[in-house]
């Protein structure tokens, strides 16, 4: 369990909403530097799974460990764990009353207790990482979707997390804007960030994922390295799903 290589361990997560069981026993490990991509039909609980990991949603059953420490049932210490687990949301959830740079530095100031100058400097560095340093003083309402999402990635990065959870990061974006966000994510993956990504973007999955997990009916139905999954005739359900994705008109 205390394997130095294993950053995140998720064990037997169950979650029901109003009688319907959305997650029916999810278990997996994530090693440092790995990128795992979750795909599957909508409503199969993929987003819920991510939120169970940082306890934004409390699972009915199951446990989560970060670097050997238990995240579930940690009481007030959850705030400490959330600093080390970054999250990027489908709808960005940028703080609307703050400029881009202040969005990135807020948690540094209030949670990490950094000094103003130090926080500002780090925030600008992260914005530069995602290519948004020229927009530092702009408000979220002035940014395009792709720009806003990149800022929110910078905000998550600023906390120097051990792992970042991406919850359908490009689903709310127009196709043209999707690309700029995926480029940032690909670079992060190649530079060794540990990432869990829920997405429909198969191109992304194939280029940087170490493993693709196909979720259906609340469980991981099929999983494996991306090229293996696509070529091996055994993984029929996943291929069906991907095939259906490709059939969407206008894609």
């Amino acid at each position: 369990m205390n394997n130095n290589d294993c950053v995140l361990r998720v064990e037997d997560i169950h979650k029901s909403f109003g009688g319907k069981e959305v997650l029916r026993g999810i278990t997996f490990d994530v090693r440092r530097g790995e990128t795992k991509v979750f795909i599957g039909p909508s409503g199969t609980g993929k987003s819920t799974l991510l939120r169970c990991i940082n306890q934004l949603t409390l699972p009915d059953r199951g446990r989560v460990w970060l670097d050997g420490e238990e995240v579930t049932n940690s009481g007030a210490r959850i705030n400490y764990f959330r600093q080390k687990i970054g999250m990027v949301f489908q709808n960005f959830y940028l703080f609307d009353h703050l400029t881009a740079v202040r969005n990135v530095e807020l948690a540094l100031l209030k949670v990490r207790g950094m000094g103003k100058a130090e926080a500002r400097e780090k925030a600008l560095i992260e914005l530069r990482q995602v290519g948004m340093e020229d927009w530092a003083d702009h408000y979220p309402a002035e940014l395009s979707g792709g720009q806003a999402q990149r800022v929110s990635i910078a905000r998550a990065l600023a906390m120097d997390p051990d792992v970042i959870l991406f919850d359908e990061p490009t689903s709310a974006l127009d196709p043209e804007l999707t690309r700029e966000v995926l480029e940032v994510m690909k670079r992060l993956a190649r530079e060794g960030m540990t990432m869990l990504v829920v997405t429909h973007e198969m191109g992304f999955a194939c280029s940087v994922a170490n493993e693709v997990l196909f979720m259906e009916n609340g469980v991981v139905a099929e999983q494996g390295a991306p090229d293996l999954l696509l070529r091996d005739p055994r993984f029929t359900r996943m291929k069906d799903f991907i095939g259906r994705l490709d059939d969407r008109p206008g894609d």
């Binding site: 600093q83 609307d96 009353h97």
Partner: protein, 225 residues
């Protein structure tokens, strides 16, 4: 006697009532925020007993006429708890403040509830405690949303301050009636008083609208996520 010269002679006296009126208004707005904001936070984030308690407070102070509240506190409650010696101004200010808090808490509550739930989610995902999230993310947005509604409280408090006449506070209306009693000149004094109230009303609103513009944020308040 020439009405105009009476007006001019008594005008400074009348204006001194303006200071008291403004004092009542500031007290009401101040106490209104100091009590109303925590109440709003309690109603949105608090436990059931807390919410019920605040609900009862709001129901009580909004359901009673201001006149009855003033009588109740001035003749009954304050003397009853040994504070009968306090001047009417203090009692008036307290009553207007408590009542203001009841109304304003609902305005702030509306503002807080208008802030998209994603804001709290994002804040907590960064490791902020609930309190820090409320203070640094929710409230700055909620207050901006609530500002127009809160500004609308100002005229109400201003006109309510005149009811403090009933307990003898030396505010504008009280002084006007004293002048009328003394000089037997009625309509000109009353109309002049009305004029002063109207100026105070719209002057104050102008200041508040200016404040709204100063704290404006580009694009904010239009479909925040």
């Amino acid at each position: 006697m020439d009405v105009l010269s009476i007006l001019i002679d008594w005008f400074p006296y009348l204006l001194s009532g303006v200071t008291v009126t403004i004092g009542l208004v500031i007290a009401a707005l101040g106490i209104g925020i100091i009590l109303g904001l925590p109440m709003a936070i309690g109603q949105v984030y608090g436990s059931r007993p807390v919410r019920s308690l605040i609900g009862v407070y709001v129901w009580f102070f909004r359901g009673l006429p201001i006149l009855v509240l003033l009588f109740l506190f001035w003749f009954g409650i304050f003397p009853g708890i040994g504070l009968g010696h306090l001047p009417a101004f203090i009692v008036g200010a307290v009553v207007l403040g408590l009542r203001g808090a009841a109304y304003q808490s609902q305005i702030f509550r509306g503002g807080i509830q208008s802030v998209g739930e994603g804001q709290m989610i994002a804040a907590r995902s960064l490791g902020m405690s609930r309190l820090t999230a409320i203070r640094s993310v929710i409230l700055p947005q909620a207050m901006r949303i609530a500002l127009p509604g809160w500004s609308n409280e100002y005229p109400n408090i201003l006109t309510d301050s005149a009811v403090c006449y009933a307990i003898g506070v030396a505010e504008l209306l009280t002084l006007a009636s004293r002048i009328v009693a003394q000089t037997n000149v009625m309509m000109p004094i009353y109309l002049a008083t009305a004029g002063i109230f109207i100026i105070l009303n719209y002057g104050g609103l102008k200041i508040l609208h200016g404040l709204e513009r100063r704290v404006e944020i580009p694009g904010f308040g239009t479909g925040a996520v």
